[in-house]
Subunit: 511 residues, 2 copies
């Protein structure tokens, strides 16, 4: 643990940078002198930027070797580069982006890593053995929750090899413009959620009967509506008791099947890992996200599928991503998704700058450009093998850009639909993130957070800032923990059974 | 119960109508003859329309005395007026609407009706005694649910006069464009939800710390942030245990206060009733909604506040509503809300026709115009005293148009924010609607539904269709049940503790 009296320390990300962030936990006082001789002319809080040189009015401010803004006034060497001094640049234009060059990126394969997973008939592998109850409409959610209590109390104790039962409830399905162009997103999300590898191909769908999103739409191809769907309005069901009984009986039949499953040794290539950051600070791009990026490279080298997301947080780094696209089609798909999101935000009279939060700014992030540079680092250095529109199912190995909003549970829900079987979540300010369908590994950007939230944070990347560990050290730690957790080791969120509700992305209107 | 062999029966709503709906439960066969001499030329299902006269191609089809469409082909007397034969009219223009004449509508006052309610310091009266835990952001929802289990198990048994504890969780608060024009709606909804009269003015807000929607924004005026707000990221809270303890302790202090409250006799004028329909069929506008409209008139005559909502279901009846506006300002406000919604839908490339569901159509409703005519009947005949934008708090007595989407839980959530202390929900196809914050009285449009869902439906309005009861009979039954339930009598949803999650209306984008 770094003390307030420790040696003044800043972190510079790139040789071209004219700013760096203060690493010391309590910040630094005027007069504090760094080992390079730089002396502070004013107080600077932890995570906030110090000018490494005099910066003229209008001059570019560089971090990560990228322009994160322009000085709105002259900034003297050693002063605090406050948010108010940083004028945000325009988003990079989609014209004249660097061409795809990803085919040239070659990372050495990583062999011999395995985990203990649940193999599915379709070739996918789950990290948990869970029964999912899909629902076609919000109207049935209360009844399904009622049945779920009975299932947990009466059935689950009989099936010790099953990890849990989750209801995929949501606010969609009726009272929405189901033929509007935006409706494709929530519908395919619900379709693909039911097929998540952690649900062992056992499908059951509870519908009402009169809803717009008819339950058949959620049925995977080749499955029979008669077997997998129940409708509460069915004339054969008399009273609430019979409705609940029907749900419980459908669950029982599936739990029996799931209970017969056992973990088997599977290659690491069978993993589908979703990555996200939330409650970010200036350390996110320095500690946790670079370490996660290193782990992502290890996963890609081991043949796994790894997703990064959060469109508004990669939009400003598009010029760094198109050259990494495996081919020009992938580069074009990156642009397609970001252009779609630009239009979506403009339709609501907003833009990407709506992303940053008070916590981001208090944590030292001046604007979305600086946040994006720190966010996109978690994609590592691999070629980008593919792009998914929101809620599409991943069918490729390698690093995938799964286009999603940055909103934490919306992103998590869409990555679940894309087939994620394990979530890694980095956080600077701290968020008690948990999902019922997959284990969530939480990585802190600062050691202070890990110390305070010792029983919520799984990995501390803060030691990178103090020089006590390298990005590689923590990257390997995350990679090994991913394999352990995929094999059944409990995360802190699982220990507490701490889960957040799914949040569907519906770009279409409510009626 | 009406038998399939019963006398052929149709229901005509207005002397000008050239169609009527078949009332017989099993529908009617070709050759069936009504008492007026009309003979069916083909099979017609229950709730579907029969032509009472020959209708020429292009001629207006009238129900409720209003044009619900134009014949797409000649329709012979006695045939089935199928959805495919009915061309939908354009929505009424906002130009040249009838002027406000509501001041001229005089309903005789109704005196002496009371209920046993919980009086609040601000003059409002609750129908239940509930602790609400407000949340500023989705991130804390899982932790609040965790604390809620402890509160229900450890604390509630000590406080027998408290009816329950609800967490106002939601998918808003961060990851949203909080400065976009649409953001005002979810923010004021959350602000006003915490002030619902059923929550006894005891406020507590659980926040995270770094979220966009800072918890202070949810604090009612005059309350202290230090007392009513906790932030999970507070540096004084070490570990998940202390975070949960803090929530439990805040709840305990408030439960002590709520437990001292007792019901008192209050005039019916202190009621705030929200009305809605869902899963509608052709009987909604014939049985349940007219009976609820009669009850609404009784409530208004007794001085209560009564809200009707569901913009897309009143849009086509705007020309029937502006003349009922208490003054021209109210008439203009009606138009303002409907014009806003027209633009909102157009922004998502949809229009009001996106409202109707497969269940509506199977139930006999050809289009949104016919649905709207049946929906708006529940507003009764009173003058419209005021108009609320989505989520605004009602401050008036009388009949209020609270503009909301028709989506069942979005509408219910917005009416809760407007101050509703009791919800009446009419349903044709059937929906197991329940809310944690207020009792919900469910009224069926057909007796068959009440017979099948005997332990979910509170009132059967189906006897109106068979002639076994009048609209006035069922209207009085609903009115008396409202007073009983407001005084503490359990609804079926309360009996089962059947509750659906709140659903915030966020017209702004996700980031
Ligand atoms: Ca992020
Ligand atoms: Ca995020
Ligand atoms: Ca207080
Ligand atoms: Ca309705
Ligand atoms: Ca409705």
């Amino acid at each position: 643990m770094q003390r307030a009296t420790a040696k003044p320390l800043y972190i510079r990300m790139h040789a071209d940078d004219n700013v760096a962030i203060v690493a010391n936990r309590a910040g630094l006082h005027p007069g504090a002198e760094f080992s390079c001789g730089l002396r502070l002319v004013e107080q600077i809080p932890q995570g906030h930027k110090v000018a490494l040189a005099d910066i003229r009015e209008g001059e570019a401010i560089r971090r990560y070797g990228e322009v994160i803004g322009y000085a709105d006034a002259p900034i003297a060497k050693g002063s605090w580069v406050r948010e108010s001094l940083v004028r945000m640049p325009n988003a990079p234009s989609f014209d004249n982006l660097p061409k795809s060059n990803g085919a040239a990126i070659r990372l050495p394969p990583l062999e011999g890593y395995t985990f203990e997973g649940y193999r599915n008939a379709d070739g996918s592998v789950g990290t948990r053995n869970i029964l999912a109850i899909s629902t076609s409409v919000q109207c049935v959610a209360g009844t399904v929750e009622f049945a779920l209590e009975r299932i947990r109390k009466e059935l689950l104790p009989k099936y010790p090899n099953v990890d849990g039962v989750v209801a995929i409830t949501h606010a969609y399905g009726c009272g929405v413009a189901i033929n509007a162009p935006g409706a494709a997103v929530p519908i395919r999300t619900l379709q693909n959620l039911a097929r998540n590898p952690n649900f062992g191909s056992e499908v059951m769908i509870v519908g009402l009967g009169c809803e717009k999103l008819q339950p058949e739409l959620l049925l995977p191809e080749g499955m029979s509506a008669d077997d997998e769907i129940m409708r509460m309005q069915d004339e054969g069901l008399t009273g609430f008791g019979e409705i609940v009984d029907e749900i419980v009986q459908m669950a029982d039949a599936r739990l029996k099947v799931l209970n017969e499953r056992r973990r088997e040794t599977c290659p690491a290539s069978a993993l589908v890992v979703g990555m996200q950051c939330g409650g970010s600070d200036a350390f996110s791009g320095v500690t946790a996200n670079p370490a996660l990026g290193f782990a992502a490279d290890l996963l890609v080298r081991a043949g796994a599928t790894v997703m990064f997301s959060e469109v508004t947080e990669v939009r400003d780094a598009i010029h760094l991503l198109t050259p990494r696209a495996a081919n020009q089609e992938v580069a074009d798909a990156l642009v397609r998704e970001m252009a779609w999101y630009d239009r979506y935000l403009a339709g609501g009279e907003a833009d990407r700058s709506a992303n940053t939060t008070p916590g981001n700014k208090e944590g030292g992030l001046s604007n979305i450009v600086e946040k994006a540079m720190g966010s996109v680092i978690k994609s590592g250095t691999s070629p980008i093998a593919g792009v998914l529109a929101p809620g599409e199912r991943a069918s490729q190995k390698g690093l995938i850009f799964a286009a999603t909003p940055a909103s934490d549970f919306v992103c998590g829900t869409l990555q679940l639909a894309s087939g994620m079987t394990l979530h890694v979540f980095t956080t600077g300010r701290g968020t008690p993130y948990g999902l019922a369908a997959v284990p969530v590994i939480k990585v802190s950007t600062r050691s202070e957070l890990k110390q305070r939230w010792h029983d919520l944070i799984d990995v501390d990347a803060g030691s990178i800032a103090t020089g006590d560990a390298t990005i590689e050290d923590v990257g390997w730690e995350i990679f090994r923990l991913i394999l352990d957790v995929a094999s059944g080791r409990e995360t802190w969120a699982e220990h507490w059974k701490l889960t957040n509700a799914l949040a569907l992305f519906n770009p279409g209107p409510v009626t």
